[in-house]
């Protein structure tokens, strides 16, 4: 009786989870099935399951549509930007969380105010600045823009985590003979791993999918990143839906891989300090 009641009580939750899974996973599965079908097949019946699996589309996208280049461009830009963001963001967060210095509140305000500025507001001025410094249409220029755009969120997350680390740990390291930078390197960074994984994952996903800065600041085809590459299939008069789906599956693979590897650590970082 009691077991039955328990099941009944859980029913709304289970129904909600089923509905959420359909809403979240449905489009993904649909794109996955389309990635293995040809465009005529899709236009014939958009919701049908693949009859024949067209794996050759992946090779076709990679080799014939310049996808390999877009992929490596994305890897270079995103990995470099995330590495720089992690290092600079962690150092800034460590300083803001640990040291009281004149103007620290102003510095924090200036860094964090970056979060409230939408990219649409900055894009014209960024375009001009990159042009002036010869960084327009270069991966390096895009990396710098990505670092600047994500620094506020990175510092915000890391500072929240670092501020919770007990001051005694840092005092103990000072008594053990370590200087400020060594303390950052040997104490803050290793202890902050869960929070750092969180920012790495979030930044990777956001920058991997970033479109606006890339479309404005890159023009050469061989410098494009993946989100621009996918748009390549959306011509003026034709829409190659099948290839777009294949491109999306290639683009999404690294994100899924990263999330599968770090999701547990990331959740730890997000909930750190919530429960003692």
């Amino acid at each position: 009786m009691r077991l039955w009641l328990n099941h009944l009580r859980r029913t709304p939750l289970v129904l909600f989870l089923i509905l959420y899974t359909i809403v979240a996973g449905g489009p993904f599965l649909w794109v996955m099935s389309m990635s293995l079908r040809t465009t005529p097949e899709i236009f014939d019946n958009p919701y049908a399951l693949p009859v024949k699996l067209h794996w050759e589309k992946f090779a076709n996208a990679w080799f014939n549509s310049n996808y390999g280049t877009y992929f490596w461009n994305s890897i270079i830009v995103v990995v470099a930007a995330v590495a720089l963001l992690t290092l600079i963001g962690a150092m800034a967060a460590h300083c803001l969380a640990r040291y009281r210095f004149r103007g620290s509140r102003l510095v924090r305000f200036v860094i964090l105010s970056g979060m409230i500025l939408p990219p649409q507001l900055l894009i014209l001025s960024l375009f001009q600045i990159l042009l002036d410094y010869g960084l327009y249409n270069s991966l390096f220029g895009l990396i710098i823009v990505y670092v600047a755009s994500q620094l506020a969120m990175t510092v915000y997350i890391l500072e929240g985590f670092f501020a919770q680390l007990p001051q005694d740990l840092f005092d103990a390291a000072r008594m053990d003979g370590y200087a400020d930078f060594e303390i950052f390197w040997r104490i803050t960074l290793p202890i902050g791993i869960p929070a750092i994984f969180t920012t790495v994952t979030l930044n990777f996903i956001i920058l991997w999918n970033e479109y606006l800065y890339a479309v404005v600041l890159l023009t050469d085809d061989d410098k494009r990143t993946l989100p621009l590459g996918i748009m390549h299939f959306m011509g003026g008069h034709q829409l190659d839906v099948g290839m777009i789906a294949t491109g999306l599956m290639i683009a999404i693979a690294p994100v899924i891989l990263l999330y599968a590897l770090f999701s547990e650590t990331m959740i730890k970082g997000m909930t750190a300090g919530a429960v003692r």
Partner: protein, 373 residues
């Protein structure tokens, strides 16, 4: 091994209305175990942190072996500190925690390992060397924190309430362990606590602080027996000393302390010392253990009786605490007597007091009145 001297040390925190530490001067001799004792917020931890170099000094000097340390960063002072929270590095094993300070000092790897294992052996930590702090009990963590200080063989040990996170039984055993280690190593030690039992049992000398100032420095029993003021008298001792308002009056060729309807002789005080206070108000101090249900053998002739009413009886097993009022509704006092007592709350009791053990304080300044002129 080192002598630590601090001279007129002051600390004013930004935003604080008054200094947290006011002109504290103190010298800790080579190999001495000095305890800084006081209630929370009295400035004792600030003094310790200034000695460590973790807190900037507002004014005054800290010197080790005569060399001023004010401008020397914490990392170069060759001081080891044990924190209340232990402050073990959570991402390192016990071995790495112990070795961390030695690594920074470029001690060769083999030597580090030898010293770490030596200290671990001494503190019973050998089986835990590969564990991380979260897998240790509170007592084991405490020993790792102690080991981290010992392994460096520093000039000075600083302890900031290291036992306050331990349960009562572990606290006693760790306290004894700490005393043993300090005696073996002979390292100059400054130990901050608010626990008077730790102060009395551990320190060669204790320095009692209140409101940012040093109130009294001395050997534990000396301070206990001759408190410099009413604060020290109340702070040291559990239950605290009874303080009663009284007047000094001349009775024939003697001076007596009169309160309620009683006149107590003051054989512990020389007449000339009391003269300036005759006719004036004083604060009379009586330790609970100087009150007796029945005068002990040999003391009957010198004790004086106080008629009281028993408010409450608290048998603690080894002893009994009595809450008493003097007369029927006079001031309340506490007596500590033997475990076997027939007294019941609500009844009357004639309590014997040893006049030799009475203390007098100036009620205005709260300073102790000297026993000799």
């Amino acid at each position: 091994m080192a002598t630590v001297s601090i001279d007129k040390l002051s600390k004013h925190y930004a935003g604080g209305s008054e200094p947290a530490v006011k002109a504290v001067s103190l010298t800790v001799a080579d190999g001495e175990f000095m305890v800084l004792l006081g209630p929370s917020g009295c400035g004792k931890s600030s003094v310790l942190r200034m000695i460590a170099g973790l807190e900037p000094i507002t004014s005054g000097t800290v010197a080790i072996d005569g060399r001023p340390m004010n401008q020397v960063p914490a990392k170069d002072r060759d001081i080891a500190m044990v924190f209340q929270s232990y402050a073990l590095y959570p991402h390192m094993t016990v071995h790495a925690n112990l070795a961390f300070g030695l690594r920074r000092r470029r001690v060769p790897g083999a030597e580090i390992d030898r010293r770490v294992r030596g200290v671990a052996e001494k503190l019973g930590l050998t089986p835990f060397l590969v564990r991380k702090p979260h897998a240790l009990s509170g007592g084991q963590r405490q020993r790792v924190a102690l080991g981290r200080a010992i392994v460096r063989d520093p000039k000075v040990f600083l302890f900031d309430e290291p036992l306050s996170n331990l349960d009562a039984a572990l606290r006693v055993s760790t306290r004894n362990e700490l005393i043993k280690q300090q005696h073996e190593l002979g390292t100059t030690t400054i130990y901050v606590t608010h626990d008077q039992v730790e102060a009395m049992t551990m320190g060669d000398r204790i320095c009692i602080m209140n409101k940012g100032e040093v109130v009294q420095i001395g050997k534990p029993l000396e301070v206990y027996r001759n408190p410099a003021d009413a604060f020290v008298a109340r702070f040291l001792g559990n239950p605290p000393m009874n303080l009663l308002p009284a007047r000094l009056e001349v009775a024939g060729d003697r001076v007596v302390a009169r309160f309620a309807d009683l006149a107590l002789d003051l054989p512990g005080y020389a007449l000339p010392a009391l003269k300036p206070h005759v006719g004036g108000a004083v604060t009379l101090g009586i330790r609970p253990e100087d009150l007796y249900e029945a005068p002990p053998p040999g003391m009957a002739t010198r004790t004086q009786p106080i008629e009281t009413r028993v408010v409450a009886v608290e048998p603690l097993g080894a002893e009994t605490l009595l809450m008493l009022t003097i007369g029927d509704s006079g001031p309340e006092i506490i007596a500590r007597i033997g475990r076997d007592t027939g007294l019941r709350s609500g009844g009357g009791a004639s309590i014997a007091v040893d006049p030799q053990a009475l203390h007098l304080f100036d009620p205005t300044t709260t300073k102790a009145i000297p026993r000799t002129a």
